[in-house]
Amino acid sequence: MNLFDILGPIMVGPSSSHTAGAARIGFVGYRLLGETPVKAKIELHGSFASTGKGHGTDKALVAGLLGMRPDDIRIPRSFEIARERGMAFDITSVYLKDVHPNSVRLTLTGKSGKVCTMIASSLGGGRIKVCSLDGIEVSFSGEYPTLIVNNEDKPGCVTRVTSLLSQRGINIATMQLYRDTRGGEAVMVIECDQGVPEPFLQELKALDGIEKVTYLNMEEE
């Protein structure tokens, strides 16, 4: 852990795992959807379900979905703000198989009709992990600029993406490949050392065999 994992984060209490981590998960969901949801189905698992209410896990998740970060002092009022902004939400308990005790499944619908489903876990100290995205198992933290590339499961896709990254001087910190079935839909999750500029995202989207590119950069305003 670096010095600022020990001191910090600046956050709204009471719990780094149940409040700050929950807000961060909500914020990642907001960013992955790319817009404020009009509808959010929030399903709490394990300790999130059993002690979440007293820790403000519910408020923190809703705040994150509205685009608030873990240090936003409006977190305690997030339900009210959601109503003002027209975000309908529904919070229930669920049992999810083989996940961390502090986990949640989010099903988000945007105004445009776009839908995003994710399962994420709060690991402690405000750090999180996205474990599933739109039904495909993944693993990323949001601590790095992250590219999520949906592509056809055919030879050459990975090379095209990585060579373009190297041409643009972007270093890959970690890279994972996932797919639902052979020859079906595949996903690359690439955590980068540098931010990825918009024109380059367009180039990526235009590559042969690439179906969708989602970009997550938590540092950006």
């Binding site: 852990m1 910090g8 600046i10 719990s15 007293g54 002092i73």
Partner: protein
């Protein structure tokens, strides 16, 4: 790799002749590939956030369970009326630790140091020491590096998570960090700082994490007070020349061992200890 032992940090100070805080900061800069200006600014932001949180205390706020709130103000009145047995300085430290713990429980903005549950210890000790002894902000920021460096070693050898190590890993760690920082401020001696942190940790070894209803309220908030006061008495012992018989790194290893031996009912599950008392259970049922 960040330092894995206090002993390594002390040796590095002796080898380089650099002050303790700088050795800790430089290792972190190397590790994160960051520059000094960025690091100092970040530390200053954290310290300012602690100060802001302390000043934003509101005696009328209440926590989710409504069990927490208003106690920091009671201590403030006791200090103002000069009725504390512990005197004004310790009285203010107690007041600030209580206030910050309450702010956290009431969903206000705080700085995890090292955790949210233990967020009152370091600001209570630091802000009150700065005020009482007229220390410069620059030196207080340097002392925060000392605290964070000690915390890093504790996290690597043991844990700073109540779910893993019990309350000793949260309040114990915060207290050890604050003790080392104050001992360094008073002596400038790395070894003395390390012994202060060891003495502080030893005093809180075995402390269970048994929060009522699993909430960061009872008795997390009040434990911030004991963590803060324990940091100061430990620093005083070390500054007087008293040494921990067990070397500091071994004390942290013992904390790790004890954490492993604690049953899960005493590690943040809200099942044992105070949480399992008749009143504790009643509170959980009534939520």
């Amino acid at each position: 790799m960040a330092f894995g032992a206090l002993e390594e940090i002390v040796q590095e100070c002796e080898k380089t002749g650099l002050p303790l805080w700088k050795v800790i900061m430089q290792e972190d800069l190397r590790e994160r590939d960051a520059d000094q200006k960025e690091s100092m600014e970040r530390m200053e932001t954290l310290y300012q956030a602690m100060r802001d949180a302390d000043e934003a205390y509101d005696k009328d706020m209440r926590s989710a369970s409504r069990l927490v709130g208003g106690d920091g103000y009671k201590l403030q009145q006791a200090v103002e009326n000069k009725t504390t047995v512990c005197g004004s300085f310790i009285g203010k430290v107690m007041m600030r630790a209580m206030k910050m713990g309450e702010c956290n429980a009431c969903m206000r903005r705080i700085v995890a140091a090292p955790t949210a549950g233990s967020c009152g210890v370091i600001p209570a000790v630091f802000l009150t020491y700065e005020e009482e002894f007229g220390e410069s902000k620059e030196r207080m920021l340097q002392a925060l590096y000392v605290a964070a460096g000690i915390g890093q070693v504790i996290a690597s050898r043991a844990s700073i998570s109540g779910a893993e190590g019990g309350c000793q890993a949260e309040i114990g760690s915060a207290s050890a960090m604050a003790a080392g920082a104050i001992a360094w401020l008073r002596t400038g001696d790395a070894g003395c700082a390390m012994h202060a942190s060891a003495i502080a940790m030893k005093g809180l070894l075995g402390l269970a994490c048994d929060p009522v209803a699993g909430l960061v309220e009872v008795t997390c908030v009040k434990r911030n007070v004991i963590g803060a006061v324990n940091a100061l008495t430990s620093a005083d012992m070390a500054c007087a020349g008293i040494r921990s018989v067990i070397p500091p790194d071994e004390v942290f290893d013992a904390m790790a061992d004890i954490g492993k031996l604690l049953p899960s009912s005493l590690r943040e599950t809200g099942e044992g200890g105070l949480a399992a008392t008749p009143r504790g259970r009643q509170i959980a049922r009534d939520l």
